[in-house]
Amino acid sequence: MVLQTVAAGVPKIVELRRSWFASLDPVGYAVKHQESKKSRHFFFTLGLSAACLAATVGCSGTIRGSGSDISTGDGGNNSNGGSAGNRSGGTVGSLGSSGSRLLPGGGLRRLPVRELEATLDTVFPELKTTRPHFPPDGYAVFDNEQKNLDNGLAFLENAALAMSTLVEQSRANPKIWARVRTCPGNGTPSVCMERFYKEWAPRILRRPGNDIESKAYIAIANQATDLGGIDDVLAVGLEAMLRQPDFFHRVELGEGKDNVRTLTQSELLGRLSFFLWGEAPDDALRTKADGEDLTNASTREAFAKVMLEDPRAERQTVDYHAQWLGFSTMPRDGIKLDMWNESAALVRRVVFEKDFPYEQLEASFCADQPELPLHSPSLKYSSPSAPRRNHPRPLAFSSVTAARRWARTETTQTPDSAQRPPAN
């Protein structure tokens, strides 16, 4: 449905705008299981794909697009990339308001470093500038393509070092540690650990705690003497929680019987948050969701609209487009930084600005290399007729830059065809 709309052209995209996220029901709540959970496919991120096409449609002058054309994922593992058309192991359901559908992906997807670190910043905002970093993920068009994300020993070694350092930093930060150690001054280690587990499991594991785990955490607390004391016990608890697979992965198992399982409230909230913000739900969002029924479409819509007002939604949108258009890996210095910013600004305008003149994106001048020096006289790209290897991705940049420049002049005139370069 959405894809046909996109394929039909820009004018219809204009109609989509912000209401995409709600009207497309991107956080469908039901997962239909096929053959013992083997082929679950998620289908909730089409909104951003549509935004992508809107942002870049001017590059070709037409909008190409069956679903498979815009799918860039790895057989459904890409949670940001568009997902449509038939995929291995499943079909795609409608995007209407019906609840049950087959969704690409699986119930377990590792967070890319970008989401992982953004989530750490959400949990430990005080450590934003000092926390450890993870080594970069393997490069792909989209950073969340699961086939490129290490999940094994090397990743765990890095995680062990990072989380251990993070816990040390947390202990040294009174504000953070006050949130960790909320038990009374005379509380026993087990009481403190029980309280910690209950309060922090939803924050870090993105789900409520359970009795089995709680008991295991309390059992560790009983080794307080050997470990050093209450703070040491809590440090173990915090590090252990940060190293559970539930933290590193998005886990969506749902609940229910037979082949149809319904995503839980916390899973739905996680979907919304990762989709719109690129990070786990923060305390404020979780508090806001308390008492709300996110399985209700209108409730989700209201949530989505509020979340889109947050700067994190812009960041996420730009991140996505930077990956899709290939400028995310571009060095950010000198003129390249200007180009990066220029491209990001255009993405923001297209997606978030009211009354953006979409006809600018239909222009056929986007392959116009001479436009780039207008942005900066210091820019020295060779002409489009030069070997492509000398400028691997200039077209995307030139298109957004040219569009941006054009937008700035508020002209609606199509550039003179004489200025157009020959097609590559």
Partner: protein, 459 residues
Amino acid sequence: MGEDGDNSNSRFRPAATGKLSGMALPLSLQPLGGLANGSGKYKHPRFGDFVEPIRNWAGDVPDVRNLVSVVTGLRLPHRSGVANASSYHHRGTVSPLLSGTTSRDTSPICNGETADVIAEKQFASGTTLRCLVQAGNYGNGGTHDNTMSWKANATGGLQPVSAQVSPRALFTSLFEGFTPGGAGMVDNSAQKRAALRRESVLDLALPSAQRLNERLGSEDRKRLATHLDGISTLKSRVEQLEPDGTPGVTGCALRRNPGPDPAYAGGTGGDGGGFNAGQGWSDEDKRATAFIDILTAAMACNLARTGTLMFSYTQSFLNSEDPTGLRGDQHQIGHGGPVERANGSPNDSVALCHHYPVRYFGYLIGKLAGVTIAPGRTLLDEVTAGLFFEAGHGQYQGRMNAHSGDEMACLIAGNGMKLGEHIRLLGEHPAKVLASMLSAVGLDAKLGELTGANPALLR
């Protein structure tokens, strides 16, 4: 072992077979003759005294000519339908080279278990350390370009085994709470607490992962399997640190904590991305020396039995300015990239690129030879090591080509191997050298579709 169009491969191949010590080393192999600590100084055959522009080189490469052999004349078939062949250059060579199995496509996916995994399984103890001397993917953009290890999974398929890029993470994982040099590995309360803390964290994380695994579908279980394996490995490392659980190991000594990892300097933009000064080189000298120090210590302390190091990726776009002084990426240099050194030729440029891995091979051999494990016996006498390259330099696509599977070469060292020689094995498959290395340390010499050692390589 030269650039496209270069009709000579003598910059890697010594002029004659026989003892290396009695001949002038070709330019590519100069570092084997020894590098003074910090200087990177060696004799250039045409330019005289020459100092490599190594900014952070902290190692010391002794003269290892008597400890290393050069094997040349190897041939990796390119044609389809030929056993053990590569389907294409670059990524297509990985499967036959590392696993002895024919590649099915142009991807770097191996179709059999790689030699390190085979050795790890046959040793049946310890773990394999896999280190990647390159912080990030410098422009390749291909899946598994940085994968050098493939392991069979429970369902009979093959799964990639990732490599570590952080020396500090590897060091911490192996040695935190570890006191080398004696019977007791944990000898004071602070270290005891550190070890207990590590164990407690894993005691909580592992059952949680197992419980999650039980709730997953089969596809997701496969995905989590490597995660579970990883946690188990970390747990076994901690358990090795138990006070009475690890025997004293002579020669077990830590070199130094590597400290903070070098910062990631970003990529180069890939094929045709052009040269970006400062991009595509994240102090890989420091990373390489740190990994080699850790690897040596782990082997000396019985914490690992095998190890693999990968210098850059397949079709590397590593910025070569730091290691060689040439303002270009490695791949473009192979195609006849920049030549900025006075009087140099493009062919010398490729040879200078060889210095980067060759000198680290020399550094590794020097380190292994420096660990005494018994009177008159060093760690090098217990291990076998080899350095392999993605391609050789022979006829390919109608001319002498840096992407050819002909005239491939490698370096070998260690226990059971013939040492200090130039050995020319015309037409031998390079993976046969790996199979011979397995044989040299007492393992079955079977690697994929190849069986048996080449006796010309063995003592």
